[in-house]
């Protein structure tokens, strides 16, 4: 066995890393089970703490949150019919129905077990696929790398959006924002307005916190926080029987397969995967007529799916530097803070760190299973914590977190500006994820584009004469053209 694998295991098993993983899982369960708080928000709140931690400890903390946040989302979905995260939406259909019929414990037990199954399945796919993809990607030159970044951006802009056009506009504005700072090729200042703080460009951490956390706070505080009723009934019989779990194996496999596959496509995300899994599990089940009426298979499939999405989303993030969803985008940001650049070179330059990520994710899934089962009654009580207490504290944490980046209030101002921008974007149907991705990936996009054109001496055909680059560009074009052309195609169909 590769010495790096063992070294990485011992690294992850250090007391501080085990503790970080447990804290991450605990915090993730809190974030996931509290309606209105998202995993992305939890991630950005923890980011400032990671500045002082080692890269492996930070990964243990953040992956713990990622794994458990997905599971936590199912608690409020099952008990209150309010999904704690968008990925828990499908779980609410049968899960809440089970809770209404006095089977809340069984539904929660099924959800936690299926989450563990999905998490481990996703991890297995990550461990198998990531090194292969990274090895292939090592042969990529500037045109291919440009085409991959472009593909990642266009997929994020076009997938799952109500308006592809607004997704693209959001991405382009993000790319314009990233042009502020020193030019990546020649180091000449661009659009810095003689401000020293802008020389290094717009830091993505204040942008992340602003775009994800502040709009939620503004809606909650300025628009008055919603009042969520607590869950009053007692919960028992959470631990499922092995026999019952075997009966759910088929739905868990469907969920895990679809979750990993969809998760690996940048921009597709959890909500698409869970509804696909739910629908496919229903169509292929012998108990299809029970779906929607409190069928455990209807809980197992989407829950396995949303945790498998995490493993799938880590594949393009680690191997190509393209995040699969907003959470992995933040994780990518966290790695960049520690000087680690995800992509094929990471596997060559820091193989031990890559294996640490795998072990950390396994540890997170194990803690997720153990901690969720042992503390489930606590999370039922957390559902009663009102937003009027949480939101002001979160706002203070955002201010503190952005200040801690460079010990300057300039970043706090940037964070709040992005927050206001995110708030208006949310109100007028502009997705914020493409903008964030553009800010993170923009410098790479420009660097690879200009590098390619230097190689070709200004000849743009370099992108179509390289077959891999051509393939990625064609997929990019199709991915954003297809949703635009879909209504026209539908009109031509006979009624």
């Amino acid at each position: 066995m590769d010495g790096n694998v063992i070294a990485a295991l011992f690294d992850v098993l250090r007391p501080q890393n085990i503790f970080a993983s447990m804290v991450g899982v605990f915090f993730g369960l809190f974030i996931g089970s509290t309606p209105g708080l998202t995993i992305s928000l939890g991630m950005v709140l923890l980011l400032p703490i990671t500045f002082k931690l080692s890269a492996v400890t930070s990964v243990c903390l953040l992956l713990g949150l990622y794994a458990s946040g997905m599971t936590g989302g199912s608690i409020s979905a099952i008990l209150l019919n309010i999904p704690g995260t968008p990925s828990a939406s499908a779980t609410a259909i049968d899960g809440h129905e089970m809770a209404r019929r006095g089977r809340a414990g069984e539904a929660l037990g099924t959800a936690v077990s299926a989450s563990f199954f999905g998490g481990i399945f996703g991890l297995t796919c990550l461990v198998v696929a990531a090194p292969i993809i990274a090895k292939v990607a090592l042969n990529f030159g500037a045109p291919e790398l440009f085409a991959i970044v472009l593909l990642g951006l266009t997929l994020i802009c076009s997938f799952g959006q109500e308006s592809v056009l607004k997704g693209l506009l959001s991405g382009v504005i993000g790319l314009i924002i990233m042009t502020v700072g020193l030019d990546p090729m020649m180091g000449t200042p661009r659009f810095t307005f003689n401000l020293v703080e802008l020389q290094a460009g717009i830091s993505f951490l204040p942008a992340m916190i602003g775009l994800f956390a502040i709009p939620q706070i503004l809606v909650g505080i300025a628009g008055r926080a919603q009042v969520i009723p607590g869950y009053k009934d007692k919960i028992s019989g959470v631990l499922p029987k092995i026999r019952d779990l075997f009966k759910l194996l088929r739905s868990m496999l469907i969920g895990s397969l679809l979750g990993t596959g969809v998760g690996a496509i940048p921009g597709a995300g959890g909500p698409i995967a869970v509804f696909l899994s739910y629908d496919y599990a229903r169509k292929t089940s012998k108990k299809a007529s029970n779906f929607g009426k409190g069928e455990p298979e209807g809980v197992a499939a989407p829950e396995a799916s949303n945790n498998a999405v995490a493993g799938g989303a880590l594949i393009p993030m680690l191997t190509l530097g393209i995040p699969g969803d907003p959470v992995t985008a933040i994780l990518l940001g966290a790695l960049l803070i520690h000087g680690l650049i995800p992509g094929p070179l990471l596997f060559q330059q820091s193989p031990q760190f890559v294996y640490s990520v795998f072990w950390a994710y396994l540890l997170a899934n194990l803690f997720n299973l153990g901690l969720t089962f042992s503390t489930i009654k606590l999370w039922v009580r957390v559902l009663k914590v009102p937003e009027r207490i949480l939101l002001p504290i979160i706002l203070v944490l955002c201010v503190v977190g952005t200040f801690a980046l460079r010990n300057t209030f300039f970043d706090t101002a940037v964070m709040f500006c992005f927050g206001l921008l995110g708030y208006f974007m949310k109100k007028y149907g502009f997705p914020v994820v493409p903008m964030l991705l553009a800010i993170i990936l923009g410098p790479n996009l420009e660097e690879h584009l200009r590098m390619s054109l230097i190689i070709s001496q200004g000849d743009f055909t370099i992108f179509v004469t390289h077959p891999i680059s051509l393939a990625f560009i064609v997929i990019s074009v199709v991915s954003f053209a297809a949703p635009l052309l879909k209504p026209l195609w539908k009109k031509k169909q006979p009624v």
């Binding site: 109500e162 090729m185 661009r190 009027r388 203070v396 801690a404 149907g429 200004g458």
Partner: protein, 151 residues
């Protein structure tokens, strides 16, 4: 949303115009065989104009309805404005008096804004939370919190 899209696209075109003006002021320091620092901004502003124009034309001619939040109510807008100004004053006060002294007051006002009316709860949360954040960030993780210039 149609009206909003028209206004947004017009604002984006205006912003694009200002960006073009800024591009024109960029220093011309091109090395041989490079595309110069204005290449990417020019490419992006062209995309911005194109997409904004499509949004404008789509809003002007398309009769289909989009299902989005209809906008921001006067009350919510006033709330956002108040919160923005309040955060500005919080940051200013923090730079003078430091995190520990200003945060309890800030939290108390925010809790009142979100509908808290229990005084014991407001006092407890607004005093205990900053202390916990201080201990957790500054003492355990050694993350520097804003210190006041007057103290």
């Amino acid at each position: 949303m149609k009206k909003a899209n028209l206004i947004i696209s017009a604002l984006l075109i205006l912003f694009g115009g200002y960006y073009v003006y800024l591009i024109g002021r960029l220093p011309a320091r091109n090395l041989p065989n490079t595309l110069g620092i204005a290449f990417m901004p020019r490419l992006l502003v062209a995309c911005l104009f194109l997409l904004s124009a499509i949004l404008f034309l789509g809003a002007a001619f398309n009769k289909a309805r989009e299902h989005f939040d209809p906008g921001i109510s006067l009350r919510e807008g006033a709330g956002v404005l108040f919160l923005t100004i309040f955060v500005y004053f919080y940051v200013q006060a923090m730079s003078l008096f430091g995190f520990i002294l200003t945060t309890p007051f800030f939290l108390a006002v925010l809790m009142l804004m979100t509908g808290s009316r229990k005084w014991k709860e407001i006092v407890a949360i607004s005093v205990v939370s900053p202390l916990c954040i201080y201990l957790f960030f500054q003492k355990i993780f050694k993350v520097i919190l804003p210190g006041g210039s007057l103290f």
